[in-house]
Amino acid sequence: MTAHPDGAAPPPDSDHGEVTALLRRAHGDRREALDALVPIIYDTLRRIARQQMAGERRGHTLTATALAHEAYARLVGLTRIEWRDRAHFFAAAAGAMRRVLIDYAAARNAHKRGSGTVAVEIDLDGIVADDCLDDLLIVHDALTRLETVHPGAARVVECRVFAGMTIEEAAAALDVSPATVKRHWELARVWLGMHLKAADR
């Protein structure tokens, strides 16, 4: 039961139809559907980043938020989707975004340290400054640890940090109240600060 409207010609890029179908399914089993989305979004994000950087973008910083919006626009832009889907999309995008960034940072760091075994396959120079690469990896590690303590709080951090969501947007994306998001967020950012400091030492 696909919800793709018959009249609108499917766009040439086959990803679109799939995303819509997954978002539709998301109403039934959201978590599962969102997880299924992550690899698709991951690919899209990398494609966009490549295109954006290939064009002349001198002095133009593409933010994580803008990147997520752009990915959203491309993936679901052509199909009608409901409000909540949009929020759910961003929740999934946050996870994908995190993966893109971490893969990049890891590759980049390896490259910098001269190990040379991992090719930097995407160029995110405009997105992440080199001096932030270590921070990224440290935050990621601490966040991985937070997932074992409280997965919900980790999702909040993902939404806030990697998809640039506000408290309200994160609440809509995760289907919880803004108060809950705020509570988790306030504790998590300090908790992460403490735990990653520990990791640093």
């Binding site: 018959d6 010609a9 009608r80 989707i81 997932e147 303590v149 997965p151 403490m194």
Partner: protein, 892 residues
């Protein structure tokens, strides 16, 4: 590696929840009370110690914040609320006057002193980062800025801040939302409907310019203290929705633009937005103004509930809604609602049944295609109600009840896809669909009654597919039109369809003032409609008409008249059942002939059009007013100024009744009347009319506009006739400079003002300066066909001869005036002839040829006194000059 791998660790998770609650509780307190709070609420010493540590750590920004900053993620709520600022572009922000979902609104003023006026400045929350999006945003802004209507808050300016936030400035309107205004003033239903009709008029004007509001609601319809309606944020919803979107993006981010309580079914369904969307929103507004309750009874903001209420449920009949308070704590009683409408609940209930219920119901149909086609149609039906005439609205038949819309929605989308294909060339045109459309159109054409509806069919499609329907809704109108033209090329196998599409595009170009393009497109449309329907097809007449209008605007009235004649011939041969089309042809033809100087023929055709229109059209119809005004022009040109004045007065009265005082069309009416009043020497009234016109023009157009230049020029004429030469020179100089800048140095209107200025200088005795200027005008105007009577070669030569005579250059003056005389033909205005004769008389007098002088002056006086009042300065002066000549003759 899924981020949320397990839900097994219940203990750490519970502990986290507890930690978070305590941490939050502690954070809410002043720092010195936190310790005791933690000790009091936490019995686990390990956890208490951890909270103490967390509290101590939270003051410093760490790697999380650094990562967020590097990724551009908003650390606080920066995405929602732009950092406070005092300056945006060249504007100084004075204070915040509002904020909404899309951004903040400030009262602002230009800080570089270009204008003093206060403006409302809207600053978007989300940045536009992409350069092509920015360009598109700015192009859209330009289109909106061209939307001049007295009931629409004007968009002045717009740009993008250095950090990428789009902003606009618009007219600052100090007013109340329309619902609050109506209640505060206890307006009865009739007064409410009148106000609402004005609102529809403004929306209709925007629709004609292909701008859809998309977010009409009471807070966007303000009423000022003087009772003036002002619509805010026209097209802004779309501008703001352009933020960070790919060009193929369609409905996705639309949800952010609509206001749930005022959303249409198509917006909720994520379907195409069109002019019908605004009609629906107007229906909601009307419903609320009339019965005091919202039509959409929303109990929550959930998407499913919204769809249930907006898409599936018909609104309660207004009469039932009156007695049933809405959800969300609506405590207003039916008595209070009735009282605010100067009625009892029983009386109000009576009024809310019948016609008004049908009209609201028709505007609120779920299916966009079954609503009033435009805001203008809605307004007309309400006017019929007010006049006690039968309304057109009918109850929806069962087939189209609410629940059907959702099912039909798929079909609607399919239709939209055809439009997309037809107009924007995104995917290959489905020939099959186009053929079906053509066949359907052919079947419907056979029903003569529906002829007009069918004629508007493709136009409707086109209008419905302004940037809002087409897959690329951010495309500027100009580019969409271009793509529409390309699409039309591909329709060569369906020539009639192609012709209609071209005609529709041509009309849009006409409204944009691109007459050369219109002529080109209309020529192509004509070829197509003749190929498809034969020479006598009604569509051929329509294309002739469009080509004629463009040709007229390009300054070729003779040629235009020929084209209008062709349209007339087709309509006369059949197909014009009502006579309305023939009347239009007569009107257009007459107007073209008037421009061409064939005044008697013009008079005949326009008179014919006028008497037909007075019978066929509703009293005070805009088209009738147009014919009255054209006839006035002709009578004036024929040298019958008192008749011209009376006709201009009639046209003005009609327009004020239908458009209200502050409409540019009304200002134009005053302007025309004022010009005619000069001819009858009623200078005081003329000046009064012009001053009023000027005020409206300035409010609508700002300080510099061709119409303002015209008024200033005419004011200078009035002042010179009142012998206030200094004022005359001031006005004429201002008009001259404005026209030179707006129209160019060689434009006929610029030259007219220059000629006037030269005349005033002559009257003031600055003869050398005047002569030089006159020669300049003469040289410039000789290079081009005279487009206005005031700029006729004989008149200019007469003026020059007069100045030469006064400088004592009698030989040159003699030569020049004889050139002028030689140019007099029956087409030349009698006033021009009188001027020539008057100057000739004075030259002959100076030459001592008194008998010839007396003869010339006598003829000038005859012409003038036949047409002007006895105390007109021209009559008085000529009479005294003639008397002087006669005295000298008698002395001989």
């Amino acid at each position: 590696m899924k981020p949320e791998s397990s839900a097994a660790a219940t203990t750490p998770s519970d502990r986290w929840e507890r930690l978070a609650a305590l941490f939050e509780g502690a954070l809410a307190l002043p720092p010195d009370e936190r310790d005791s709070y933690v000790r009091e609420h936490c019995s686990d010493p390990g956890m208490a110690a951890e909270i103490q540590a967390l509290l101590a750590a939270q003051v410093t920004a760490g790697p999380v914040e650094r990562v967020m900053a590097a990724l551009g993620s908003p650390t606080a709520n920066a995405w929602r609320d732009p950092a406070p600022r005092s300056q945006v572009g060249p504007y100084e922000l004075l204070r915040e006057i509002g904020h909404g979902g899309m951004g903040m609104v400030y009262l602002a003023r230009r800080s570089d002193g270009v204008y003093q006026r206060l403006v409302a400045l809207k600053l978007a929350r989300a940045p536009v980062l992409d350069a092509t999006l920015r360009d598109r945003f700015l192009a859209e802004r330009d289109i909106l800025a061209g939307l001049a209507h007295p009931n629409i808050a004007t968009l002045f300016d717009g740009g993008v801040t250095d950090d990428g936030l789009p902003y606009f400035t618009m007219e600052y309107v100090d007013g109340q939302p329309i619902d609050a205004y109506c209640d505060a003033n206890r307006l009865d239903l009739t007064a409410r409907i009148r106000l609402f009709v004005r609102t529809c008029g403004a929306v209709a004007a925007a629709h004609r310019a292909l701008v859809v509001h998309r977010d009409l609601k009471p807070t966007n319809v303000l009423v000022t203290e003087t009772g003036e309606v002002k619509l805010l944020d026209f097209g802004i919803a779309k501008l703001l929705a352009m933020e960070s979107r790919d060009r193929r993006t369609e409905t996705a981010t639309d949800s952010r633009v609509m206001t749930p309580a005022y959303a249409s079914p198509e917006q909720v369904m994520g379907a195409a937005v069109s002019t019908a969307t605004d009609v629906y929103a107007l229906g909601l507004l009307l419903y609320e103004l009339l019965c005091g309750r919202r039509a959409h009874r929303l109990e929550s903001r959930g998407a499913a509930h919204l769809e249930q209420v907006v898409v599936q449920t018909d609104p309660l009949p207004m009469v039932d809604a009156l007695t049933r308070p809405g959800p969300g704590g609506d405590a207003t009683s039916a008595e209070a609602i009735a009282q605010a409408r100067q009625a009892t609940p029983a009386k109000l209930a009576r009024q809310l049944r019948g016609d008004l219920a049908r009209i609201a119901g028709m505007a609120l149909r779920k299916d966009p295609d079954r609503r009033y086609a435009t805001a203008a149609h809605l307004a007309e039906d309400l006017e019929r109600y007010l006049d006690g005439r039968p309304v057109l609205a009918r109850p929806a038949s069962l087939v189209y009840r609410a629940s059907r819309f959702a099912q039909r929605h798929r079909l609607a989308l399919a239709a939209a896809a055809i439009v997309v294909a037809t107009l924007a060339g995104y995917t290959a045109l489905s020939v099959q669909h186009a053929r079906e459309m053509e066949q359907a159109a052919a079947r419907e054409r056979q029903e003569a009654v529906k002829a007009r509806e069918v004629a508007d069919f493709v136009v409707g499609l086109f209008e419905a597919s302004d940037p809002n329907v087409v897959q690329n809704r951010d495309m500027p109108v100009a580019r969409m039109l271009d793509q529409g033209l390309q699409r039309a090329d591909a329709l060569s196998t369906q020539p009639l369809l192609q012709a209609r599409l071209l005609n529709a595009i041509g009309r849009v170009y006409f409204n944009l003032g691109k007459f050369d393009a219109v002529a080109d497109i209309a020529t192509r449309a004509l070829a197509a409609s003749r190929a498809g329907g034969g020479d006598q097809h009604a569509d051929v007449a329509r294309d002739y008409r469009l080509l004629g209008m463009a040709t007229l605007q390009r300054g070729k009235p003779q040629e235009a008249a020929g084209l209008f004649r062709k349209a007339l011939d087709i309509h006369r041969a059949g197909g014009d059942l009502t006579g309305v089309e023939t009347a239009t042809d007569h009107n257009d033809l007459g107007y073209a002939l008037a421009q061409a100087g064939q005044l008697d023929d013009a008079d005949r055709y326009i008179s014919e059009a006028l008497s037909a229109r007075r019978v066929l059209l509703a009293p005070g119809h805009e088209d009738t007013a147009m014919s009255v005004s054209h006839l006035a022009f002709v009578r004036g040109a024929q040298g019958r100024p008192p008749e011209a004045v009376e006709l201009y007065r009639e046209a003005l009265t009609m327009r004020i009744a239908s458009l209200g005082e502050r409409h540019p069309e009304v200002a134009r009416g005053r302007q025309n009347l004022a010009a005619a009043l000069i001819r009858v020497a009623d200078y005081d009234e003329s000046a009064r009319q012009m001053t009023q016109a000027l005020e409206v023009y300035r409010a609508v157009y700002g300080e510099r506009h061709p119409s303002i230049a015209t008024t200033l020029n005419n004011l200078s004429v009035v002042e010179s006739n009142r012998y206030r030469l200094a004022e005359a020179v001031t006005y004429a100089t201002a008009a001259f400079e404005m026209r030179r800048e707006l129209l160019g140095t060689t434009h006929p209107s610029t030259l007219v003002t220059q000629a006037n200025l030269a005349n005033y200088l002559a009257t003031m005795g600055k003869l050398a300066e005047s002569e030089a200027m006159m020669r300049d005008v003469l040289a410039q105007s000789a290079k081009q066909p005279a487009m206005t009577m005031a700029l006729s070669q004989p008149q200019l030569r007469a003026n020059l001869a007069g100045t030469l005579r006064r400088r004592g250059k009698l030989t040159e003056a003699d030569t020049t005036i004889r050139e002028a005389l030689a140019l007099v033909t029956p087409k030349v205005s009698p006033f021009t002839e009188a001027s020539i004769l008057a100057v000739l008389g004075k030259i002959r007098f100076d030459q001592g040829r008194d008998a010839e002088a007396a003869d010339a002056l006598q003829r000038a006086l005859d012409i003038r006194s036949q047409r002007l009042k006895p105390d007109h300065p021209d009559v008085v002066v000529t009479r005294s000059e003639l008397a002087a000549v006669k005295r000298r003759l008698e002395r001989k």
